[in-house]
């Protein structure tokens, strides 16, 4: 009736589990197609809300893995994408809570050296630096909201799923985040113009 279970049996069981084809809800072809459509926007989103490219690299794989492990059928491509972005948002939030990292403030642009360069290149660089610094001053959720709504042009219903808020609240939250970012950008522009004026004198 009983059979002996030896250490080799345990090893055999583990080997069987390792060799078995892992069944995800998505097959490989569907995954590849979905990945091609979403990986770049997701990476950019992760790097924007975390403020760190290395973090984006790490969390990209993790986000797709968690999505693959979810036993759920998706209503639509948009629903699946919203869920993926929600996973990514939570991963960044968890990392933020664990390590208490803050987005690193970029160094102030050197006005004198900027003036010596070509004007258009300098202006573009200053604009980007201003935006990065301004985004770093926003709350993580505000950064996510603005990036999803305007840079990635996600509909409000999808943003609501991604950030775990009511669809009706997105408009108000977006309004506040936009006003805050615009104020920071405007004050930053004034400072940059003043710095340039001093450098010219």
């Amino acid at each position: 009736m009983f059979r002996d279970v030896t250490l080799s049996d345990v090893e055999r069981l583990q080997a069987q589990a390792e060799d078995a084809e892992v069944a995800f809800e998505m097959d490989e072809d569907s995954f590849r197609a979905f990945y091609e459509r979403t990986a770049r926007p997701l990476w950019v989103y992760l790097s924007r809300i975390s403020g760190d490219r290395q973090v984006a690299d790490d969390l990209l794989q993790e986000a797709y893995y968690r999505l693959l492990r979810v036993r759920q059928s998706w209503e639509s491509e948009s629903h699946r994408r919203a869920y993926l972005f929600r996973i990514a948002t939570n991963l960044v939030r968890d990392r933020y809570r664990r390590s208490h990292f803050e987005p690193v403030a970029l160094p102030e642009p050197d006005s004198a050296s900027m003036a010596s360069r070509e004007e258009s290149v300098a202006d573009a660089m200053v604009r980007r630096t201003d935006l990065q610094r301004a985004m770093a001053r926003l709350k993580p959720r505000e950064r996510a909201l603005l990036w999803l709504a305007y840079a990635q042009e996600h509909p409000h219903s999808e943003i609501a799923v991604t950030l775990g808020v009511r669809t009706g609240s997105v408009k108000l939250l977006l309004f506040r985040a936009r006003r805050r970012l615009a104020q920071i950008l405007r004050s930053s522009k004034i400072r940059t113009a003043e710095g340039r004026h001093r450098a010219q004198r």
């Binding site: 069981l13 589990a17 990209l60 893995y65 980007r128 305007y150 108000l172 950008l185 405007r186």
Partner: protein
């Protein structure tokens, strides 16, 4: 509550998205934006975000889809393997605990016999058992049955548990 929405917001957003702002859009919309705080903020923020997006997208390097799929497969298999081994670990831990209980029980059962058998070495034995204040022979008899039941259960249940676990997996 402040007004969070402007009726021209969507028109402006469409113009910004299509690259028509500011040169190729209606003068009326430009005039509206000049006098509307919501639309002014929108131009400021969306312009900066579009610019940043274009730069960032040009610099994105993500792993190939096949690599991500393969890594996910490997990780899922490893986790399945750990899950498969978990019941075995639990059974082994339970067996070890029961074994420990049995050894302690046997020790107390055998203590009087050990005392008698090693009476000639009373000096050493006294030193050893006095310190432990062993229970009397009546107390040992009182615990003999429960200990025997635990020992017997362990000997029967452990192989069955291992058999069932291995069978399921």
């Amino acid at each position: 509550m402040p007004n969070v929405e402007c009726p021209r917001e969507q028109d402006l957003l469409d113009a910004l998205t299509a690259g028509r702002w500011p040169e190729r859009c209606e003068a009326e919309l430009r005039a509206h934006v000049d006098g509307c705080a919501i639309c002014t903020d929108l131009v400021e923020v969306v312009g900066a975000l579009f610019d940043a997006r274009d730069v960032v997208y040009a610099d994105v390097a993500v792993p190939a889809s096949g690599t991500v799929w393969w890594r996910a497969q490997i990780r899922a298999r490893r986790e399945a393997s750990l899950r498969a081994a978990r019941p075995m670990t639990v059974v082994q831990a339970v067996a070890a605990c029961l074994g420990l209980v049995a050894v302690i029980g046997l020790y107390f059962l055998a203590a009087p016999w050990l005392s008698d058998s090693f009476a000639p070495l009373s000096g050493l034995m006294t030193f050893r058992f006095d310190g432990l204040t062993l229970p009397g022979i009546d107390a040992v008899k009182q615990w003999a049955w429960p200990i025997a039941v635990i020992l017997g259960t362990w000997l029967i249940v452990t192989p069955i548990a291992i058999y069932l676990t291995a069978g399921k997996e």
